[in-house]
């Protein structure tokens, strides 16, 4: 799995089935990347 993909899925109880991404190949090419607002260096 590519290290660049940072898709975080919520705990199972919160997520409807429809949000699961079924095709692994699509994950490699995802048009969405995610990070926490805390995830960039230069803010203390």
């Amino acid at each position: 799995m590519s290290e660049d993909i940072a898709v975080e899925v919520e705990p199972a109880a919160q997520v409807e089935d429809e949000t699961r991404i079924e095709d692994e190949a699509l994950l490699e090419d995802l048009l969405v990347e995610e990070v926490s607002i805390d995830g960039m260096c230069g803010v203390y």
């Binding site: 898709v7 975080e8 991404i21 048009l31 990070v35």
Partner: protein
């Protein structure tokens, strides 16, 4: 599997900022940032509230059928991170 035929919209607590490469979405509740890596995807997301379905929004944004799985996966990711939600 993400429901393309459902009615969707951006969560009210999301701020959208268009960028050269697509857009930044920031959710004030979850404090998470999503980077949309295509302007077309931004266009799809913006059309969601006014179209009867996500599929229609994709069509109006000019997403070719061959690209639909890719956009469906992207919308699934946005739903998982609560950036978009079903319209009630």
């Amino acid at each position: 599997m993400f429901d393309l035929d459902g009615a969707w919209q951006l969560d009210e607590r999301v701020s959208v900022r268009p960028e050269r490469f697509g857009a930044l979405l920031y959710h004030f509740g979850t404090r998470r940032l999503s980077f949309l890596k295509s302007s077309t995807l931004l266009d799809v997301v913006r059309r969601l509230p006014e179209q009867p379905s996500a599929r229609a929004a994709c069509a109006h944004a000019g997403v070719p059928d061959s690209e639909l799985p890719r956009y469906r996966a992207a919308l699934a990711a946005l739903a998982a991170s609560r950036m978009i939600r079903r319209r009630t």
